[in-house]
């Protein structure tokens, strides 16, 4: 045999070996799922990899949208109505069927739903609730978890005692009246109060995030980091079993790739499509669903230094920004112009038809001149490049820069990655930085307090612009201490009015939080909230 033939054979053998190795490598990635369930699996393309699936410790809307499907809290919201029917979500019974509030507003007695079982079979009862609340609040409890506590600080800040009255009743005692409590208990933006199976908590401890066990409509199936989080139907769900067999949340961080994935049929629903893709998708037969969640995209002004210290300057900026064009041209109507600090999906929202700061560059120039800056000034705007709820911050900032430069304000843009931006933002605005962009919101107006309270001035809290307004704090304190909802709301509206007039934060737009749905998806409702319910959703063929 010639050596050339031998060489050929040998190299063939090598390549065969390589192939086998490659297959062996890939074989470990084999999957699960049968054809039938695959057909009834809803795939949702989401904008980033979720945080840990511990509902109390995991932060961010993206994560809560997932853990919300597996966990319930005592208090829920009615997520069955679109924004057009309910501008603000109504509170609804969750794992508590009802609750009594003492007239002094200091004790809350929750009557728990009976016959509910966690996904692992553990019975849901008052002990379970007690166990969970102490995990978030009671430093002396063995299950106390610093991260869960940190994320739920605002909810439990006035809690002084938890008492199990009986198997179906639990009493929370506060040290002062705290009207936002119920709404905060129904929130999930930065950690929620979803109830976890105590058995599972005891078993897994901190690793609960990889074995989430709740009472929700879907049961955890598996999580492949970077690839998917999947869950299957909970046939025993107390609210009625969902229609879908499985739900898969698939993180696709790049917006273009997300859009591509629904076009190619790999996903059924995607979050946050690029604004420029929406009309094309719609004309290709995809449906866009949007809402008015409690979301505002705003600038925190640096109240420590000139010229932002000057109210006239802040007003001038607010007049100078063409919110309408921003929403229509840049964001392609995926957002609404925002003229007040609180979002429409908030009980403190003012139903005034007249916006306070219409686009008026001339007035802006005039105000600047009055403030002593007839020739404008130079300032820096900081923003993240992406992030949950941030929409498309850089193009938006670029647009606003152009607006401001028209009235003589020269703007430098500084950008950061989302998470480094959060810590940078929370450290407080640096000298020389005029405004820093942020987006947030809650259906409870208490959010305004979190943003403006002087005790939460950075770095102790999210009041990054160092805002102090004793009058506003006084009104908010009255709202918090109110024991009936109407009184509270009246104070909240007043607070909103004051903040909008004083502009510690310059609101820009309210996100409409659009989702793109393929034709197969039926009964998907987007309420006035940052998350949604999937129990009613069905898939066609």
């Amino acid at each position: 045999m010639s050596s050339s033939k031998r060489l050929g054979k040998r190299s063939a053998r090598y390549s065969a070996l390589g192939l086998v190795a490659a297959l062996a490598l890939t074989a470990c990635g084999g999957g699960s799922g049968s054809n039938a369930s695959a057909n009834n699996t809803l795939v949702i393309g989401i904008e980033s990899e979720p945080d840990i699936l511990d509902p109390q410790g995991g932060g961010g809307w993206v994560t809560y949208r997932i853990s919300h499907q597996m966990f319930d809290g005592l208090v829920a919201e009615d997520l069955s109505k679109p924004s057009s029917e309910a501008a603000v979500t109504d509170l609804a019974p969750g794992l508590a069927t009802s609750w009594d509030i003492s007239p002094d507003g200091l004790t809350y007695t929750f009557h728990l739903r009976q016959g509910v079982k966690f996904h692992d079979g553990t019975e849901f009862n008052a002990e379970a609730v007690d166990y969970n609340i102490r995990r978030m609040w009671d430093k002396s409890a063995p299950q106390y978890n610093a991260r869960a506590a940190g994320n739920t600080t605002f909810v439990w800040q006035h809690l002084s005692a938890v008492d199990v009255l009986d198997n179906a009743t639990i009493k929370l005692t506060l040290d002062q009246p705290f009207s936002p409590l119920l709404r905060l208990m129904a929130q999930g933006g930065s950690g929620s109060t979803g109830i976890i199976s105590p058995t599972a908590l005891k078993q897994y401890g901190d690793a609960i995030a990889d074995h989430p066990v709740g009472t929700g409509p879907f049961k955890f199936e598996e999580r492949v980091r970077g690839e998917r989080v999947s869950m299957v139907r909970n046939d025993d769900y107390w609210g009625g079993a969902p229609k879908l067999d499985r739900v898969v949340f698939k993180p696709i961080p790049d917006a273009s790739a997300r859009v591509a994935s629904i076009r190619s049929g790999e996903t059924d629903i995607i979050a946050v499509p690029t604004p420029d893709s929406v009309s094309g998708l719609q004309s290709d037969g995809f449906e866009m669903v949007d809402a008015t969640p409690p979301h505002v995209w705003f600038f925190s002004a640096n109240m420590k230094e000139e010229p932002m210290k000057n109210l006239k300057v802040r007003q001038a900026i607010s007049y100078a920004i063409d919110r309408k064009s921003l929403a229509t041209d840049i964001l392609k109507d995926t957002a609404l112009p925002a003229y007040q600090v609180q979002a429409p999906a908030n009980t403190g929202y003012l139903q005034s038809t007249d916006p306070e700061y219409p686009y008026d560059p001339d007035k802006a120039k005039q105000l600047l001149a009055e403030a002593g800056y007839p020739n404008g000034f130079t300032t820096t705007i900081e923003t993240s490049v992406d992030g949950s709820g941030q929409m498309i911050p850089v193009p938006m900032a670029e647009f606003i820069k152009q607006n401001l430069e028209k009235v003589g304000i020269t703007v430098n843009i500084k950008t950061y990655e989302w998470i480094s931006y959060i810590s940078h933002f929370n450290a407080g605005l640096e000298p020389g930085v005029g405004m820093a962009q942020m987006s947030w919101g809650m259906s409870t107006p208490y959010w305004l307090s979190i943003e403006t309270n002087s005790s939460l001035i950075a770095p102790n809290g999210p009041n990054a612009g160092y805002y102090q307004n004793a009058d506003l704090e006084g009104v908010i304190a009255q709202a918090v201490a109110a024991t009936d909802e109407d009184t509270a709301n009246k104070y909240w509206e007043q607070a909103n009015q004051m903040a909008t007039a004083d502009l510690p934060m310059i609101p820009i737009v309210n996100d409409k939080s659009p989702y793109i749905l393929s034709k197969r998806v039926k009964n998907f409702v987007l309420p006035s909230e940052e998350w949604y319910d999937l129990t009613k959703v069905e898939l066609g063929s």
Partner: protein, 300 residues
């Protein structure tokens, strides 16, 4: 002249370079009878190597062009051969050995496998037979311990042994003509002599005709029957070795002969004290060449 194995008639090989046409071989006539040994002597750039490569069709450069003449091998004009015919011819009917024995063997394959590849390329034999022929070829070139050497990789052999392998390779298919292009340059003197003697032995034993390209009159004297002296692409003088060496006619030949340092000078020569002994002085004995001969500036 019909019994000539190789007849080169008015061969012209030109190179088209950026600086114009270089006539490396410019009308050369040479002939070798069957079993003969022709020495082609010249200095760098004389066109002697290009002549050998032209015969093999191995100029391999885009710039090389044949500009006329004939190369008749056993009556067939090799210049009319296509690539396939030439490939068949090379190694089987005409073998070639180059200078630079150190790098002449593929370092990655054993001596045996390289020999066998050439053998099986030209002869319809199986591996065992090829191996046998390879062994014979190695024995022919007096390779010590051929059983072991056939399995060796080239770098395991000395320079002289490698040159032997190359000769064995060139001879493995029993060609009628061997073109040896300075096969001993860069070898130690002792090895050089062995190789030269080996070639003479092979010529006698097998009747293989040899075209010996060299710059060394010593080699010519040792092994050749006829010799041609080349300069600037032309043959300036040719004849039997006896005639040319003992009575060179062309001044260039004379000059070259004079320039070779010799041992065992005659008593008369030795009587000259060393400092006064002189080698040949080019400018005096040669007609002035046009330009560019570097040595035109020689002050001698």
């Amino acid at each position: 002249m019909t019994d000539m194995l190789l007849e080169i008639k008015n061969l012209k090989t030109h190179f088209h370079t950026d600086g114009g046409i270089v006539k490396a071989v410019d009308g050369v006539d040479l002939e070798i009878p069957r079993g003969g040994i022709l020495g082609v002597v010249g200095e760098s750039g004389s066109g002697k190597s290009v002549t050998g490569l032209s015969v093999m069709g191995l100029l391999g450069s885009r710039r090389a062009r044949n500009a006329g003449g004939q190369i008749l091998f056993k009556g067939r004009d090799l210049l009319t051969f296509n690539d396939r015919q030439l490939q068949k011819l090379r190694g089987s009917e005409i073998g070639m050995v180059f200078q630079g024995a150190l790098s002449g063997l593929d370092p990655s394959f054993s001596v045996g496998s390289q020999l066998m590849e050439v053998i099986r390329r030209h002869q319809k034999v199986n591996a065992t037979q090829a191996r046998k022929i390879a062994m014979e070829s190695l024995e022919l070139v007096a390779m010590p311990d051929p059983e072991r050497k056939i399995r060796s990789l080239p770098h395991e052999l000395s320079g002289g042994q490698r040159q032997r392998v190359l000769i064995a390779m060139a001879l493995s298919c029993n060609p009628e003509l061997l073109i040896a292009d300075e096969p001993t340059t860069a070898l130690d003197a002792t090895v050089q002599k062995q190789i030269v003697d080996l070639l003479v032995d092979i010529n006698r034993a097998r009747g293989t005709a040899i075209l010996m390209v060299t710059h060394d009159f010593g080699v010519v004297a040792r092994m050749c029957r006829t010799v041609a002296v080349m300069r600037y692409g032309k043959v300036v003088e040719k004849g039997t070795v006896q005639e040319v060496l003992e009575n060179p006619q062309h001044p260039y030949t004379q000059a070259l002969m004079n320039a070779v340092p010799r041992l065992h000078l005659t008593a008369a020569e030795r009587a000259v004290p060393r400092p006064e002994r002189r080698l040949f002085e080019l400018t005096k004995n040669l007609p002035a060449t046009p330009v560019q001969r570097e040595e035109a500036y020689a002050p001698l």
